[in-house]
């Protein structure tokens, strides 16, 4: 079988100017249908991946990837931190542990503005406070200003009905930061653990321990391994209380599961639309086979075997599918880039957590969608290919 001939026959007959305008139109329409279907699938996945990725990145930026805490709400202490540091050092993916003390508080800024805040003290932070961008706006402060933070931990109500707070502490704002997540931007005050302990008068207490990982490490297996080591150290040695290690994202697993389900549902709907486009390809291939029935008779008269005719017809379907897929991928790339570059999508951060929705073109997704489409193209090409063999060469030659 001469591959050039098979390729030329299938390729040239798809775009042949000698076949009827209607068949050519249907052929182009089915390629366009595949392209739109493939592009829609890739664009959908790009923006859903981009949305989930933006949330993950923002959460990762602010929080350590692995969290060690007491599931019963118990307080942790220096001994726990020491143990976690020791156990984490046995795992090659970890780079260290940080103590975290996190408590709610009230902050006041310029001109008596007041906001409820979450003060997070970390052992790897320096002096001063880093504020979320929306919180800074609400308090009317910027880098270099001072805010006053009141701890609500020891608040009491006086006989006159006034709230008496335990500690009020001035904090220098060293910077204002976009944490990515609206909730953090509106409430987070990041300080050193020493500052947090002074504010909350908790000299030894740690609310959680964060474990940092090397770039690219997957927090799920690391947290499972660390959790297993912690269980062995506490429960297996008879201690009544144990601490647990989980990947930070597990705190938001419901959100990601819901988003995953939504993505799956939309993918199925768009995949069905693509299947309709592929069925249209089948119709177009039937029409092209009918239009070239006479050519098939000539080829058979010249000695082309049924296998050659079949492979040529399948290749025709495949080439139309590949043309559609390549156009679809290009269209998706263009759409994702164009939206990111020229038409950025703004979201209501109080609803969606993040303010910008940007698409992340994934090569893996594009390859998976393309391969699946091409496989279905091959399947839908079989019936038209068999139809081109249904007539004897003599019957095909009489067809004019």
């Amino acid at each position: 079988m001469n591959l050039w001939l098979v390729g030329a026959l299938s390729g040239r007959q798809v775009v042949s100017r000698y076949q009827s305008g209607f068949v050519r139109f249907v052929g182009i329409l089915s390629i366009a249908g595949i392209a739109i279907g493939v592009a829609a699938l890739i664009v959908l996945r790009s923006f859903m991946d981009g949305f989930m990725g933006a949330i993950r990145t923002s959460l990762d930026t602010v929080n350590p990837p692995v969290y060690v805490f007491s599931p019963g709400g118990g307080r942790l202490g220096p001994a726990d931190l020491g143990l976690v540091e020791e156990l984490a050092s046995t795992l090659s993916e970890t780079t260290g542990a940080v103590a975290i003390l996190e408590r709610p508080a009230v902050a006041s800024g310029a001109a008596g503005t007041v906001a409820g805040v979450m003060v997070r003290g970390r052992s790897d932070k320096g002096d001063g406070a880093v504020l979320g961008i929306r919180l800074a706006e609400a308090l009317g402060v910027s880098g270099g200003d001072t805010i006053r933070v009141a701890s609500t931990a020891g608040a009491t109500v006086s006989g006159m009905g006034r709230i008496l707070v335990d500690t009020i502490m001035p904090l220098a704002v060293v910077s204002v930061r976009d944490f990515g997540i609206d909730e953090y931007n509106r409430s987070l005050v990041s300080v050193s653990i020493g500052t947090a302990r002074t504010l909350f008068r908790e000299e030894q207490t740690i609310s959680a321990i964060g474990v940092n990982l090397r770039e690219g490490s997957d927090p799920v297996p690391v947290s499972a391994a660390l959790d297993s080591l912690l269980r062995r150290s506490y429960v297996d040695e008879g201690w009544p209380v144990y601490i647990s290690a989980i990947p930070f994202m597990a705190f938001h697993s419901n959100l990601f599961q819901a988003l995953g389900l939504e993505t799956l549902a939309m993918t199925i709907v768009l995949a069905l639309i693509t299947v309709v486009a592929l069925l249209n390809l089948s119709s177009a291939l039937f029409m092209i086979a009918l239009e070239h029935r006479w050519d098939t008779g000539v080829l058979r008269a010249m000695g082309a075997s049924p296998a050659t005719v079949f492979v040529t017809s399948i290749t025709r379907g495949l080439s139309m599918g590949v043309a559609g897929v390549l156009s679809g991928v290009a269209l998706a790339l263009l759409a994702v880039w164009g939206v990111n570059r020229f038409f950025p999508i703004r979201l209501d951060a109080s609803v969606y957590w993040v303010e910008n929705l940007s698409g992340r073109f994934s090569v893996e997704t594009a390859v998976a969608v393309s391969m699946a489409t091409i496989i279905v193209c091959l399947i839908v090409s079989v019936a038209p290919a068999l139809s081109s063999l249904s007539d004897s060469p003599a019957k095909a030659l009489r067809y004019e």
């Binding site: 079988m1 001469n2 050039w4 001939l5 030329a8 026959l9 040239r12 007959q13 042949s16 000698y18 006479w294 050519d295 008779g297 000539v298 080829l299 058979r300 008269a301 010249m302 000695g303 082309a304 075997s305 049924p306 296998a307 050659t308 004897s392 060469p393 003599a394 019957k395 030659l397 009489r398 004019e400």
Partner: protein, 228 residues
């Protein structure tokens, strides 16, 4: 019995077009032998079954009854793939309406049987080039069929039929669609090539002039083949 020296034989060939109650029995026991280098014309009125006979002898359809032998072998005893090879190597076709593939150049059309046989494109094009020179249209090689005249298209079709050097060429009214001048050129070329290359030609035609220039004339009438 088939004639062992014949390059193509048909024995007691019957064929019916199945149209329900109006079944048309076009061939009612046709037999003939064609020898190397022989030029045979088949004449008969329209609808007498000339094209059908050529299709059956050319293995494009199976006789309802009777046998066809190519080089003494019954091609209907082998599978379709082998039969396709026999068609490719031993038979050449020239049709009334050139039947060149419009999407391919004249040169590619002529090279097509070689490529179907598995020959590389380069070699097939070289072989086709020699034939195009022989039929005098090398200067039209790069043109598409729609860009050349009817006579040139038919010369290309003739070159295509001969490019694999088949033992038999079956020509179905090869000049039936041409003007007088082109008819004369194609007929002269066809007869000249047939004699020079010692290939057997079976030509279905309405042209008495062409038939008289062939070595043997057969009439197809009421489903039977006879000498005039």
């Amino acid at each position: 019995m088939n004639d062992a020296s014949a390059v193509l034989s048909g024995r007691d060939i019957h064929f019916t077009y199945d149209r329900g109650a109006n079944a048309l029995h076009v061939l009612k026991g046709v037999s003939l032998d064609l020898h190397a280098g022989e030029l045979v014309a088949v004449m008969g009125p329209s609808g007498s079954g000339k094209s059908t006979l050529l299709h059956l002898l050319g293995l494009l359809a199976r006789p309802e009854r009777g046998s066809v032998f190519i080089g003494g072998q019954d091609p209907w005893k082998v599978n379709e793939s082998r039969r396709s090879k026999i068609r490719n190597r031993s038979l050449g076709f020239v049709f009334q309406f050139h039947h060149l593939l419009e999407e391919f150049t004249v040169h590619e059309n002529v090279a097509m049987p070689c490529m179907i046989s598995g020959m590389s494109r380069k070699r097939a094009m070289e072989t086709a080039g020699e034939l195009l020179r022989e039929v005098g249209i090398m200067d039209r090689a790069r043109h598409f069929p729609s860009e050349v005249s009817g006579g040139e298209r038919q010369r290309a079709a003739l070159a295509r039929a001969l490019v694999m050097e088949p033992s038999v060429v079956l020509a179905d009214e090869p000049t039936g669609n041409l003007d007088d001048e082109a008819t004369s050129v194609v007929e002269n070329l066809m007869l000249d090539l047939a004699r020079r290359r010692n290939q057997a030609f079976l030509i279905a035609t309405h042209s008495r002039e062409l038939a008289q220039r062939c070595g043997r004339l057969l009439m197809l009438d009421r489903g039977l083949l006879r000498e005039p």
